[in-house]
């Protein structure tokens, strides 16, 4: 027992030394740990194993690739990924953190829970590491601030995703319509969807998540889903729009999508819908589906429509932070991993498979857009001027979001009027926030 601990200490001391050398290197934010760790491996032969939680690892290669690259660069650190089904990720992560599980680092699936985790003291404070290694937080395009509470940085954004519009070029061609531009409004979207509908095809696809309606109401950055004082009247125009589209048949109804267990990736890949507002994470999936012949859809991507009176280029999204378990005794090694995955090399690995890294710059976007299978115009579509958070990172947001989800289904299934449900949302949100 003791021996091991001492050896581990030795390794971490050496790790720290390698970190120091890295900092000494002028103008480079890449860790120079490769030569240092080479000697570590040679002299002690002691390996550190990091356990890292992630979800849906098999269908999302970015994490695996970044971790593989990290292990290649740091032969003395082994990373074991724990693959957890996405639907159960938050439950399991909560249990593991509370139960003192042997886990060193993890990704937070719902970024809005990061603050609660930090408040509970479950996240390691990275501030000192960041300043010691000279990590430039400005590289994260303002995303890093979301994980900074009371001046302490608790996580770094590994990837970011925001909503864009996927569309089916063949369906536009068949109707002789022009493809959506990157500067269009939700009214344009509704109109186009109407025109595209026909021949057993739907003009658009609105997935069953409440986000696929509510997001457009918070896109302008003026409101968040916590603003119950307004009676949630800012949701109203979008619920009216979606219900109209549902009645006219330009989107498949919520009820059918729910009961037929329809996953958003299905109809679009089968070419039966004209447009689908969806997160950028879907790009990698659809490229893969086209590549292996599961889908023949001729797709394009445009910037998400904006509300009337809002500048083009404003969208909604979120970030996936990588954090370190406050209780781990391998903090130094875990930091090396976090630094790598959220750093330039990790970003490059993410970009290679079509995932937008948290530190995305023009070059990274260009690289993603140039990927094989990516349609023309992707670079322009992905260029956004503002990303409003889908859910603000504040207390009780998870409860409010859960409640909104329940109420959302009542509107979409037309079990009650929009006004009644919005009033009930406001009432319940008030009880949750002030209760």
């Amino acid at each position: 027992m003791k021996m091991k601990r001492i050896a581990a200490l030795g390794v971490s001391a050496m790790m720290a030394a390698s970190v120091l050398t890295a900092c000494g290197g002028p103008g480079s934010s890449t860790p120079a740990s490769t030569p240092a760790s080479g000697s570590t491996g040679g002299s002690t032969g002691e390996e550190i194993t990091l356990k890292v939680a992630t979800w849906d690892n098999t269908s999302n290669p970015s994490v695996q690739n970044a971790v593989d690259a990290f292990m290649a660069a740091n032969p003395n650190i082994k990373v074991e990924l724990m693959d957890i089904p996405s639907a159960d990720y938050t439950t399991k992560l909560t249990t593991m953190l509370n139960g003192g599980a042997d886990m060193d680092a993890f990704f937070v699936k719902d970024a809005d829970t990061t603050k609660s985790l930090a408040d509970k003291g479950q996240l390691a404070d990275l501030t000192e590491y960041i300043s010691a290694d000279g990590v430039d937080l400005a590289a994260y395009n303002g995303l890093a601030e979301n994980f900074n509470y009371d001046g302490k940085q608790y996580g770094l954004p590994a990837r970011t995703d925001y909503y864009v519009m996927f569309y089916n070029k063949d369906m536009f061609d068949a109707k002789g319509m022009e493809y959506p531009s990157n500067d269009w409004t939700w009214a344009d979207f509704e109109e186009m969807a109407k025109q595209l509908t026909g021949d057993g095809k739907y003009g658009a696809f609105i997935h069953t998540w409440q986000a696929c309606v509510m997001n457009w109401a918070v896109q302008d950055g003026k409101h968040t889903i916590m603003d119950y004082e307004t009676g949630y009247d800012f949701f109203k125009p979008y619920y009216e729009m979606v219900l109209r589209m549902q009645d006219e048949g330009s989107i498949q109804s919520y009820g059918e999508l729910k009961s037929a267990n329809i996953h958003y990736s299905g109809p679009f890949a089968q070419g039966t819908v004209g447009m689908m507002p969806m997160g950028t994470w879907y790009m990698a999936t659809i490229i893969e589906a086209v590549k292996n012949g599961e889908s023949t859809v001729n797709w394009g991507v445009a910037t998400i429509p904006h509300p009337e009176g809002v500048e083009a280029g404003w969208t909604v999204g979120s970030a996936t932070p990588m954090c370190i378990n406050a209780n781990t005794d391998k903090k130094d090694a875990a930091w090396e991993l976090v630094k790598f995955v959220t750093g330039e090399e990790g970003a490059a690995e993410y970009a290679k498979v079509g995932a937008i890294p948290g530190r995305a710059d023009d070059a990274a976007i260009a690289e993603i857009a140039a990927m094989e299978g990516m349609p023309e115009g992707t670079a322009e579509a992905l260029k956004v001027t503002n990303i409003s958070l889908d859910r603000p990172i504040v207390d009780k947001v998870a409860d409010v979001n859960q409640m909104l989800g329940e109420q959302h289904s009542l509107i979409m299934l037309e079990q009650d009027t929009i006004d009644n449900v919005l009033a009930s949302m406001a009432e319940q949100a008030e009880a949750i926030i002030n209760g």
Partner: protein
């Protein structure tokens, strides 16, 4: 005889201790495991219902605050009522279905084993797959259930099932009856075979009709099984979680948010373990109360026999 008597006398003083020791040896193998892995965590969660706890940091004693909180919460009251509704109907229909099937399949028939297996099978099928399948079968337009009902009912009278706040709970009850009836049928089937045939012969001679035979012989002779099936169904219904999670996730709105779902949300979304434990305590009191009543009734029945 005399030797035995003296033996008993010799050990007479320590009879109590000896009985305890013997009893303990029977119970211990199970009890040690049970104590460590179940009882300790459960007792801990009892204590929790009087605490405020986020699952990680220090707890605070808040006395009955958590209980006051849940009784003020309309969602809790809603889920309590729904749980009672669900339990009453699931128990009644499952028992009725299981008993009728058992009586039907107690006849000498060709392929009787095939029929029994077929009815039993839903019980073993994976809940993830079954959830997806039933969701699709309950579709308002084009679903199998409504297609079958459409033969007897006009289109306008067809329910929306899982997409309708009033029909979602009945739909869930149907699925749970479908899933459970096979298991309880087997239990009834076994008990039916224990009823001496001579009783029916005697009834036949007395000119009793089939229905009278059922009421006077079959049903009362099955009383121990009724007690058992009832108890199992009640306990399982109060705790049902997976099925709801797969079928409706508590929706639409909160139309199928049963107590277990409420508890789950309070633990894993709100991270309010005190409130979740308080809700579980209520659940415990209800089930405990029912168990006690059932014990009393059963004891009376046994004494009467």
């Amino acid at each position: 005889m005399t030797t035995q008597k003296t033996q008993k006398k010799a050990k007479g003083l320590s009879l109590n201790t000896r009985n305890t020791l013997v009893g303990m040896t029977f119970i211990l193998p199970n009890f040690i495991g049970f104590l460590t892995f179940t009882l300790v965590p459960v007792v801990f969660s009892f204590i929790l219902s009087f605490m405020k706890w986020d699952g990680f940091n220090e707890m605070q004693f808040v006395a009955f605050n958590n209980f006051a909180k849940i009784f003020k919460d309309p969602n809790f009251r809603n889920s309590l009522v729904l749980t009672l509704e669900y339990t009453v109907f699931t128990v009644l229909f499952s028992m009725a279905a299981a008993l009728s099937l058992a009586i039907l399949l107690n006849n000498k028939l060709r392929f009787v084993n095939f029929f029994r297996s077929a009815i039993f099978f839903p019980y073993v099928a994976s809940i993830v797959a079954v959830g997806c399948v039933w969701k699709a079968m309950f579709m308002k337009n084009g679903g199998v259930v409504n297609a079958l009902l459409g033969v007897f009912l006009p289109d306008s009278a067809l329910p929306g099932w899982l997409a309708d706040v009033d029909w979602a709970l009945p739909a869930v009850i149907i699925v749970s009856v479908w899933k459970n009836m096979g298991y309880f049928m087997i239990i009834y089937l076994a008990a039916l075979q224990d009823i001496p045939y001579s009783l029916y012969e005697a009834a036949e001679i007395d000119g009793a009709t089939k229905w009278q035979q059922f009421r006077r012989i079959t049903f009362p002779m099955l009383t121990p099984s009724h007690f058992f099936v009832l108890m199992m169904l009640i306990i399982n219904s109060f705790k049902v979680f997976d099925l709801i999670f797969m079928l409706t996730e508590g929706g639409p709105g909160t139309a199928t948010q049963l107590l277990s779902m409420y508890i789950y949300n309070k633990s894993f979304i709100s991270w309010d373990y005190g409130v979740a434990s308080a809700a579980a305590m209520i659940l415990f009191l209800i089930v405990g109360g029912i168990t006690l009543i059932q014990f009393r009734v059963e004891k009376k029945f046994n004494d009467f026999m």
